[in-house]
């Protein structure tokens, strides 16, 4: 193994600056002459705006400007867009209501943007914002996912009758019905996928700085994808031409999806800094984050499985209603559609699947991708349904899974829902997980717990997800407005150190370490001589950013390809210098050598020659600096089995997770320590959803879980120490053999936890979050 290369658990280089307080987050950046923005937000879930009087606010101390939707529209800025089209069952594209960055006559959720005040200090801006006098005409609100499309509900958007965004059927309905009619048994489950607030530790922020001389806007943003922000803000929101817009996403303190999207505040700040000719900063406070960050999940669904007498899955039918909130966020439509229904096969050979997804508007914050995005919803539904089927058939949950797994020799495996899995070994992962969890010893542990008055339960979750997002051709066919390749530039400086520019963005994932490991492995340059640079459209050539566990699987491959180009060029330079034929030059451990001789030169010397080409191959360009793009041919398909063991206190309903075992197939691991950290974080996210996190609006559309006093995030004492292992397979589509690991835990954990609780209580189902009261009630009912 190369020192600090692939497979080494190298300590994260980026942590030094975070640990010594030298991180550089958007709110840390201050520009001379900076002013501050405060948004006037709707206190009502659904109301017309009869008038806005900004007189008192404009006269308030320190105020520079007050803007409403009128000024924004007059300048032709916006509206915000949704980048993926889903075709509804009537053949029409999904209904896309106007999504202005500042309201146009109507507000549709609590927190909706009505006006912005720009002042010398934030306190002055906030004081003045309270003086903006808005006359609202209150309308009845609709917030409930399951009933939003029912007759008689308040109507939010004229373009979306019955609050329907789309009704998207997929699969052969008739064939599924025929299979159900002939089935030995049908298992059925109704379930809710609870709405989540994404909650990155760093709240969103934006700082716009307009240079009158160059006519360029620099916009510092909490973004997971600076170039996507630039593209959308430029091409669709008319903020500035792409070459006059620079997006800087400096250190970002967690994203989990919420910082993918283009938000109203970002567009308004970018526009306002040019308007007032002053830098303008906005930093979300935590309340604003709860109200206006895109939320996640929020489905109600009915799932049915048809089984034969041996417990083989014959067909599956899934009816889903998904809440998209008041407006369509940037990638919202694809989450409950392509990222959801196309994962419903899971690890199983179910030959027929029919899915119908109704996406609805409600008077709630927009809903979009949140760690896993669609795949946690699919996995939760499927893995709960499989346990119900196991109970219905009298089979062990492990056994029913085993009987239905796609076998090792069936790969590549074409599922009935579009995806073609390239590799996987589900049985090995299950076997390893059951061993790790000591599944065989469970009944003894349950008996011991019973003696202490506790109910012990064990639950499995065998998941597969599609990540390494995504093949451009595939997403283009599905209606995406972008390609999802990734780009890299690997540049040697004349002194032999290396700068790696990646279009992905690290906001906690450790790219600066992992990507440097790739380069040290491939080029033999010492790890400490490699710097990974990301997050600034003025520095990095291009990119599509970080989400969908894509950075290593797509961005890493682009880096590897750029390295290959450097090696190819280096061979030419070395051949000339070593007076050998290019074909005789070999490269390894950082040295170009002439085969069969001891003549060699280090890659650093080659780089020096390329910049000081006094003696150089004729016709060869100087410089040692290569670009590469990579567009994957397929998604990658991480998979695995997680096992959760719980103890329930039947007297209080408190659930303690006593053991959690995860066996995952992420392909090759570049930095096992970082991967394990990602597993831990993902599992905690999933445990949070299963036990604690429930975003709740009341019937009037007020967010009742708008702070950490009421919204429960998982903490260290809510989770056990995890047992993590791997069952890797080699994905043939990925040149590095990697699959992606950032979302797996959040996808796998919720059904593992709920299956364990259901097992402990001896009930059919319990909805998430399984709060103490809900568990206590279920225990009462079961007793």
């Amino acid at each position: 193994m190369v020192e600090n290369g692939i497979g080494a658990s190298v300590r994260r280089k980026e942590d030094n600056r975070f640990l010594i307080g030298k991180g550089n987050y958007t709110d840390d950046i201050n520009v001379a002459g900076q002013s501050y923005a405060c948004f006037v937000r709707s206190p009502h879930a659904h109301a017309t705006i009869n008038s806005i009087d900004t007189t008192a606010a404009s006269a308030s101390l320190g105020v520079i400007a007050v803007f409403t939707g009128d000024e924004l529209a007059a300048d032709g800025i916006g509206p915000l867009i949704c980048g993926v089209t889903v075709t509804s069952d009537d053949g029409e594209p999904h209904r896309a209501p106007l999504h202005p960055a500042l309201a146009q006559g109507k507000v549709n959720y609590v927190g909706d943007h009505v006006a912005v005040v720009i002042a010398e200090t934030y306190a002055q801006a906030r004081d003045a914002a309270e003086k903006v006098d808005v006359d609202y005409g209150l309308l009845a609100a609709v917030t409930d996912t399951g009933s939003a499309a029912d007759e008689g509900q308040p109507q939010i958007h004229e373009v979306a009758p019955n609050n329907m965004c789309f009704n998207w059927p997929f699969g052969d309905k008739d064939a599924v019905e025929t299979a159900f009619a002939a089935a030995h048994k049908i298992s059925r489950l109704e379930l809710v996928n609870n709405r989540m607030v994404t909650n990155p530790m760093e709240p969103r922020a934006a700082l716009g700085d307009y240079n009158e001389g160059t006519e360029e806007i620099t916009l510092y943003l909490t973004t997971q994808n600076p170039h996507v922000h630039r593209l959308v803000l430029s091409a669709f929101n008319q903020l500035a031409p792409e070459h006059k817009l620079r997006i800087v996403g400096p250190d970002v303190g967690g994203g989990f999806g919420a910082k993918i999207f283009v938000y109203a505040e970002e567009l308004v700040v970018g526009w306002a800094c040019r308007k007032v000719k002053r830098p303008v900063k906005w930093t979300s406070d935590r309340t604003e984050a709860f109200l206006s960050d895109a939320h996640g999940r929020d489905h109600v669904a009915t799932a049915e499985m048809a089984l034969d007498e041996n417990g083989k899955f014959l067909a599956m039918r899934v009816m889903t209603q998904a809440n998209l909130g008041a407006y369509l966020s940037t990638f919202s439509t694809m989450v409950p559609s392509y990222l959801y229904a196309f994962l419903l096969a899971g690890q199983y050979t179910t030959p027929l699947i029919y899915s119908e997804v109704k996406a609805v508007f409600t008077n709630t914050a927009p809903v979009d991708a949140c760690r896993g995005a669609g795949r946690p919803e699919a996995t939760y539904l499927l893995e709960r349904l499989v346990d119900v089927a196991a109970a219905d058939m009298g089979l062990d949950p492990g056994e029913i899974r085993r009987r239905n797994f796609i076998p090792l020799d069936a790969f590549p495996y074409q599922t009935p829902v579009v995806q073609c899995y390239d590799s996987g070994d589900y049985e090995t992962a299950l076997d390893k997980a059951l061993l790790l969890a000591n599944y065989a010893g469970f009944s003894a542990r349950a008996a011991e717990a019973k003696g202490r008055g506790k109910l012990r339960g064990i639950g499995l979750s065998s998941y597969v997800e599609a990540c390494g997002i995504a093949p451009s051709a595939a997403v283009g066919q599905l209606g995406a407005g972008v390609g999802l390749w990734e780009s890299a530039q690997v540049r040697f400086n004349p002194t032999g150190n290396v700068q790696v520019f990646t279009g992905t963005h690290s906001h906690g994932q450790g790219h600066e370490t992992t990507f440097a490991q790739l380069v040290t492995e491939q080029l033999g340059v010492p790890f400490e001589n490699i710097e990974v640079i990301h997050g600034d459209t003025a520095k990095t050539q291009f990119g599509m950013g970080t989400y969908g566990s894509r950075s290593l699987a797509v961005g890493g491959v682009a880096i590897a390809k750029a390295c290959e180009k450097l090696i190819a060029k280096g061979k030419k330079i070395a051949a000339h210098a070593l007076e050998a034929a290019e074909g005789d030059i070999e490269f390894g451990n950082g040295n170009f050598s002439v085969a069969g001789t001891d003549k060699a030169m280090n890659i650093a010397e080659v780089a020096f020659n390329a910049y000081v080409p006094h003696s150089y191959p004729e016709g060869l360009e100087p410089g040692f600096d290569e670009n590469a793009f990579f567009d994957p041919l397929n998604f990658s398909f991480p998979a695995g089995t997680h096992v959760c063991e719980v103890e329930v206190d039947p007297e209080t309903g408190v659930v303690e997770i006593v053991k959690y075992s995860a066996v995952d197939d992420f392909g090759k691991l570049v930095n096992p320590m970082i991967v394990e950290g990602q597993v831990h974080g993902g599992v905690v996210h999933g445990i949070g959803q299963a036990l604690l996190e429930g975003c709740r609006y009341d019937s009037e559309g007020q967010l009742i879980t708008a702070s950490y006093m009421d919204y429960a995030m998982p903490r260290a004492d809510n989770v056990p120490s995890f047992d993590v292992d791997y069952a890797p397979t080699n994905p043939p589509h990925n040149p590095l053999g990697v699959k992606g690991c950032g979302e797996a835990g959040a996808i796998a954990a919720p059904p593992a936890v709920i299956n364990a609780i259901v097992n402990a209580l001896g009930v059919k189902h319990i909805d998430m979050p399984a709060t103490p009261e809900n568990v206590w009630r279920a225990a009462q009912a079961a007793a």
Binding site: T705, M709, D710, A712, P772
Partner: protein
């Protein structure tokens, strides 16, 4: 936060004088409720009178069977105090489980009981232990101190100076935490003295109170099993997204039983 005038005072007399001169003044002890409320712009006092600099209000002393805790003593100090741990270990434990370390290092016992949050921990113990609240004007028995949601017997300018706790034979506090805020959804403190059993209940209703039905059975049979027969009335129970009235009533009994067991 809106603008306000800040006063740092060195004595109780100065604090009272500052309060009487203020338009709409507020005393602040550790500020762990007051400051977040002001930051959210839900309170806008004209003057903040900071009691933190009054040395005479801090400290823990023991005289015979009485433990005296100065009003401005922080939760962290109570939790770490050898005197408290020796006299009433459950009180030290209660203090050590309030909020998080930041809260415990700033928040004070006087501030907590003067604020009388319906889900605060200390009121249950003050009631169950039969404490006496000393102010700059008088002394108030625990039973008379907590009068309603965020309301106490304190007059507008009255300042708690210390709280006396008589040493019980045994006492225990059991808290069922709100998973989000970690405040008490229900907290029950049970204290046994030579003469009686007292039960203090917090979180369950709008104001901490004595659990008289529980006391009635425990006075004749101090066992957790005795609590089973007690009917906890539902009508005054709080009900919110975290716990219904029925569940809270159930938890009162469960926490009481666990507290009784812990006293054994």
């Amino acid at each position: 936060m809106y603008e306000f005038s800040y006063h740092k005072v060195a004595s109780v007399a100065d604090a009272v004088a500052a309060m009487s001169a203020a338009d709409d003044g507020k005393y602040v002890a550790g500020g762990q409720t007051m400051l977040p409320t002001m930051k959210h712009r839900l309170a806008s006092p004209s003057d903040i009178i900071d009691l933190g600099g009054i040395a005479e209000l801090s400290g823990i002393t023991v005289a015979g069977d009485t433990l005296t805790i100065g009003a401005m003593t922080t939760h962290a100090a109570v939790a770490a105090s050898a005197e408290v741990q020796a006299m009433i270990p459950s009180l030290a434990q209660l203090a050590g489980n309030i909020g998080d370390p930041a809260v415990r290092n700033r928040g004070t016992i006087g501030g907590s009981i003067a604020n009388n949050d319906p889900a605060a921990d200390y009121p249950a113990a003050v009631i169950a232990l039969g404490a006496t609240v000393h102010t700059n004007k008088r002394e108030i028995a625990a039973d008379d101190f907590f009068t309603g949601m965020f309301e106490t017997a304190l007059a507008e300018d009255e300042i708690i100076t210390s709280i006396d706790f008589p040493k019980p034979l045994a006492a225990a506090y059991m808290k069922f935490e709100n998973p989000a805020s970690r405040y008490a959804i229900v907290g029950v403190c049970v204290a046994k003295t030579a003469s009686e059993v007292r039960v203090g209940v917090t979180g369950a209703t709008t104001c901490a109170h004595r659990g008289q039905r529980l006391e009635a059975v425990l006075n004749s049979d101090f066992s957790s099993a005795a609590c089973d027969a007690v009917e906890i009335p539902l009508e005054r129970m709080n009900s919110d997204i975290h716990a219904s009235a029925e569940y809270r009533a159930h938890l009162v009994k469960v926490m009481a039983k666990r507290a009784v067991d812990a006293c054994a």
